[in-house]
């Protein structure tokens, strides 16, 4: 009758799978490898240069900030290396060295360190950095122009660019299976759909990221793209094309799921992902920009603390 376990209060809604931040960072880096390997296969040594310089300069920027702000050295947690590799995955293989170093500066210093370091950043550092670079040097991310000298055995036109500039008829040459298998041009590590899904799946199974965000993000993209497509098929392409082009999959698995800029409760996570997906297609279909993933994720990052206000009611009441 008088059970000792009458009233149990626990912290909500934290989850702990027993691993550390270092493990998390290096596991995420491991999960990026399938997508990156195909990038290296397609683009060769220049892509290797971008990836290596991005990781090392990201670590150096964090070390420099630790020294300047006289705080403990935090590079051992692997977070800066992780940001560096994800940032490199979004870049074209021919990105000049100064842009890589400037980009990692923006990602680590402006995107993360000035907010107080790991866990305090309001926005995804890699996404923020790419957008600042796009706004500063828009030709850097013109994939058609950046990859002019590569000879591929597939259609060497950036699919989302072709769709935006020349309409639905222009993308007849693309085959969904080719797009899924990374036979398209784009960022070094953002075009290989299968590799990104494998990496993301690994992270979900290991509990490093939550399934709610990528799933609802992809669902948001699919539903919105389908509605547009049904309403005007001659003007808007179906969901398959949106899912396997641009930054969709890297956004779903590696950008939107970033820990400190995404919500922690289940319903907020679902709304966050869904909102990001819907906004991505809105920007792609009726916006000015070619790809909307990064903008959508940053906007949802901003909304994330508000979404987390939706939480279970506390038990009991204050008298």
């Amino acid at each position: 009758m008088n059970s000792q376990k009458k009233f149990i209060v626990s912290h909500a809604p934290f989850q702990h799978n027993g691993s550390s931040i270092e493990q998390r960072s290096y596991n995420i880096i491991l999960a990026t490898l399938p997508a990156i390997l195909l990038g290296l296969f397609h683009y060769g040594a220049p892509a290797l240069g971008v990836i290596c310089l991005s990781i090392s300069s990201a670590i150096f920027w964090e070390l420099a900030m630790n020294r300047i702000s006289k705080r403990p050295i935090t590079i051992g947690d692997g977070n800066s290396a992780m940001v560096g590799i994800i940032f490199a995955m979004l870049l074209p293989a021919t990105t000049p060295w100064w842009a890589v170093i400037t980009g990692t500066f923006v990602a680590i210093v402006i995107g993360k360190e000035i907010f107080g370091g790991i866990g305090s950043n309001a926005f995804n550092p890699a996404a923020l950095s790419v957008l600042i670079l796009i706004l500063s040097w828009k030709n850097l991310f013109d994939f058609d122009q950046a990859l002019l000298n590569y000879n591929f055995d597939f259609v060497a036109v950036y699919p989302l660019g072709a769709l935006k500039h020349f309409g639905v008829d222009a993308i007849d040459t693309f085959n969904i299976l080719d797009l899924f298998l990374g036979r398209q041009i784009g960022g070094i590590g953002s075009t290989f759909g299968l590799g990104l899904i494998l990496g993301g799946g690994y992270l979900i199974l290991r509990g490093f990221i939550r399934w709610e965000i990528p799933l609802s993000f992809l669902l948001g993209i699919s539903i919105t793209a389908l509605l547009f497509n049904i309403s005007e098929p001659a003007r808007f392409v179906g969901p398959g094309f949106h899912l396997f082009t641009g930054y969709t999959l890297i956004g779903a698995f590696f950008l939107a799921t970033e820990d400190s800029s995404s919500p922690v409760n289940t319903l907020p996570m679902l709304l966050y992902g869904l909102g990001g997906g819907i906004m991505t297609v809105l920007i792609r279909n009726i916006g000015v920009y070619i790809d909307g993933v990064l903008y959508a994720i940053l906007v949802m990052n901003m909304v994330s603390p508000l979404l987390d206000k939706i939480r279970p009611k506390a038990i009991g009441k204050v008298v």
Binding site: E22, L53, S54, I75, N151, H165
Partner: protein
Amino acid sequence: MVSSKELKLAYGLAIILFIVGFLSYAAFSSKAPLQPVRIMFQGVAGKVLFDHQTHLGVSGYGIACIDCHHELEDDETATPESCSACHEAESEEEDTPNRTDALHNQCIGCHQDFEAGPTECAFCHIM
């Protein structure tokens, strides 16, 4: 708390990857090949992506160099020049039209002759 082992790993990663990155940039800087694969023409009406290889290749349209690089009419053994070597952005000369006119004549003329390819401005120009 980060252990010294993990700190050493981060230092090691930073140094080794910096060296590999530096060497990759230094040794494999991307130079344009002698025979371009694709060319991006920059124009006030929007950029135009021209697939040089597809126009040239036997598996593509199989056009001979001399069909476009008309300077080879004088010396067939010469190396074809870039269009902008002679056709300047602004030109008053009647014999050498400016770059826009030259490219328009070349592209549109050939496409009309073969009754193929794009017919509207926005089918080539990224507006």
